[in-house]
């Protein structure tokens, strides 16, 4: 679906933003693009969505070189959820969605009511202007806008931002559903839980360079110390012990009265983020 070879981009003489990125995204894959602020995520996404021109290297989307792609056809096949909910604040959700849907062929568009129902949008707000909506509701409308044209390729930038935990779960389910339909998802996020739960593969980008690219599980395994922490009760005292995972095959050898919990010492995706990018998450 997406093929990127030696992608470079510069905003000026001394402002090289991307230093030769290489990656591919397969059909129906959810690909996570993770990195700290200013690392080149947005620039990459803008090139992939055809907004930024003048890049170096080769970028192909839908099997066509992005520099020569016919824009109307191209934009008709993608859906974009921006980092912020860009909506007409004076119009209602219905008017917003009708407006944005009107740019696509009618037979391609999904039923607005159905999408809003799926996004659990409060029906009493349907005719109220967007300016009266909460952040979470605006994010729902933005998601509906991205989905209304039944895109084959979905670019999602911080999709669960501004949502409460149940909203975040709902969005993750919807993204999963889209993938099941065959939609390819390019996910840009700081939310490592989203990336871990949703992505087939993730790429860590730092200072315009991809520093790691693999499935979340493999990345975690590669950086794991293969230890297990066991919390147990022995002679009335609560104690804990860290052992090699392989030691567990022979059973728990040390004296104990009761096992309270067993924790894998595998690093989280957040640990990976910090390790690869050298920066923590804010």
């Amino acid at each position: 679906m997406i093929e990127v070879k030696n992608l470079t981009f510069s905003y000026g003489k001394d402002k090289q933003a991307l230093h030769g990125l290489n990656f591919t995204v397969g059909d129906g894959e959810i690909f996570g693009f993770l990195g700290p602020n200013g690392s080149g995520k947005s620039t990459t996404q803008k090139i992939l969505t055809g907004i930024l021109k003048g890049h170096g290297g080769y970028v192909s989307v839908f099997g066509q070189d992005i520099s020569t792609v016919h824009t109307k056809d191209f934009f008709g096949k993608i859906g974009v959820l921006f980092e912020f909910p860009y909506l007409y604040a004076n119009l209602s959700v219905i008017d917003n969605l009708k407006y944005f849907a009107s740019f696509y062929p009618a037979n391609q568009c999904r039923d607005i009511g159905e999408i809003l129902e799926k996004l659990e949008f409060k029906t009493d707000y349907l005719k109220k202007p967007v300016s009266s909506y909460s952040k979470g509701m605006r994010q729902r409308v933005s998601m509906a806008r991205a989905l209304v044209s039944s895109p084959r390729l979905l670019f999602l930038d911080e999709p669960t931002s501004g949502l409460d935990p149940s909203g975040a779960v709902l969005f993750r389910n919807i993204i999963e559903e889209e993938r099941k339909k065959g939609t390819t998802v390019f996910l840009t996020t700081h939310n490592m839980l989203d990336a871990d739960l949703l992505c087939d593969r993730v790429a860590f980008i730092s200072d315009g360079t991809i520093v790691a690219l693999d499935t979340p599980n493999r990345l975690k395994e590669q950086n794991s110390n293969h230890c297990i922490k066991i919390v147990y009760q022995y002679q009335g005292r609560r104690e804990e012990k860290t052992i090699e995972a392989s030691e567990l095959q022979a059973g728990i050898s040390f004296p104990h009265d009761e096992i309270i919990s067993i924790h894998s010492e595998e690093p989280t995706l957040e640990d990976m983020f910090i390790q690869y990018t050298g920066r923590g998450l804010l």
């Binding site: 109307k72 980092e83 860009y86 740019f103």
Partner: protein, 328 residues
């Protein structure tokens, strides 16, 4: 697609109360012309200064002020720039105006000469069919129309676009499957239609239907030229400037450097040698001549207007594309 854009822009203009402001302006201008300007702005009689040392003109009207010398005549005209001087020292009356206004106007010259022959049946040269009241109406109508399009149209498009800029929706249009120029065209078209309706109503309400019908095609043509220039300028400034505060400063610059010299040159005796290089002077004169039934016939004027509008459109398009690429 263009229908959706037009519908959305129309909704934006309604929610921004643009039409209400335009209607308010129309009512205010009409009331001013009908009940203010026409009733209270009667022009004073022009003073006529006569230098006739030999008394060659016989018995003249008491309204002609005799002066004793050529120097006194010059001094009188310097102090009264609307006055008319007659030098009859050679026996043949020669008309003089204040040096800055030597090209104005036959009306005053005719009036001055009539004072020399006030007891005879002097036949003034009739230029055009406008009564003094109709002339006043047309003059004021033209000036207010020019101000309305320069100010309200320019600020109107900015108020709508700054809202869209703040909402970030311009960036969404970067990924929509439509020609990006349509976003500009839709807005310009809507403001053009609004200005044309405003101009038509302004002319009909203040000049009267029978006279308005005759001049309307030419007035609408000039309105269209001015409207396109101003809305494109407003669009471009909005894309390039950060906020409405900066835009207000830009408007101030336009008001001071664009409108003021044009009004001064066209309506007063202030003379500016460079005014012929000022594009808005020609647009204003085009509108004024259209109001007086003598539309601009020079093809160079129309060619320059079309080229100017096309150049502005290209600048606006570039600024719009730059805005779409900006970060959130």
């Amino acid at each position: 697609m263009i229908y959706s854009l037009l519908k959305k822009d129309f909704q934006m203009l309604i929610s921004g109360k643009f039409f209400l402001v335009a209607l308010g302006s129309l009512v205010l201008y009409t009331l001013f012309i009908h009940f203010g300007y026409i009733h209270y702005m009667h022009a004073e009689l022009y003073h006529v200064y006569l230098y006739d040392p030999q008394g060659t003109q016989g018995e003249t009207s008491d309204l002609a002020c005799p002066v004793a010398s050529q120097e006194e005549l010059d001094a009188a005209l310097s102090g009264d720039t609307n006055g008319v001087g007659i030098d009859a020292s050679s026996g043949v009356p020669e008309i003089f105006f204040y040096f800055g206004s030597e090209k104005t106007d036959n009306h005053r010259a005719d009036y001055a000469l009539s004072l020399l022959q006030w007891q005879k049946d002097y036949k003034a040269q009739v230029v055009g069919s406008n009564t003094p009241e109709l002339k006043q109406r047309k003059e004021m109508c033209c000036e207010l129309l020019f101000i309305e399009i320069i100010a309200v149209g320019f600020l109107g498009i900015a108020s709508v676009l700054f809202k869209e800029k703040q909402m970030g929706v311009i960036r969404v249009h970067a990924v929509l499957p439509c020609p990006k120029s349509l976003f500009i065209v839709s807005k310009i078209l809507l403001f053009l239609l609004s200005d044309l309706v405003f101009a038509a109503l302004m002319v009909v309400l203040n000049i009267g239907f029978p006279d308005a019908v005759v001049i309307l095609p030419a007035v609408l043509t000039q309105t269209a030229i001015l409207s396109l220039i101003m809305s494109l300028t407003g669009f471009g400034c909005t894309m390039m400037l950060k906020d409405f505060r900066q835009f207000s400063l830009a408007y101030l610059v336009i008001a001071i450097f664009v409108a003021a010299p044009v009004f001064l040159s066209a309506n007063t005796s202030v003379k500016m040698a460079w005014i012929n290089w000022h594009p808005f002077y020609h647009v204003y004169m085009g509108l004024k001549n259209a109001c007086f039934g003598t539309p601009a016939a020079n093809p160079v004027y129309y060619i320059c207007s079309v080229c100017g509008i096309a150049a502005l459109f290209l600048i606006v398009r570039a600024a719009f594309h730059r805005e779409m690429k900006k970060e959130g």
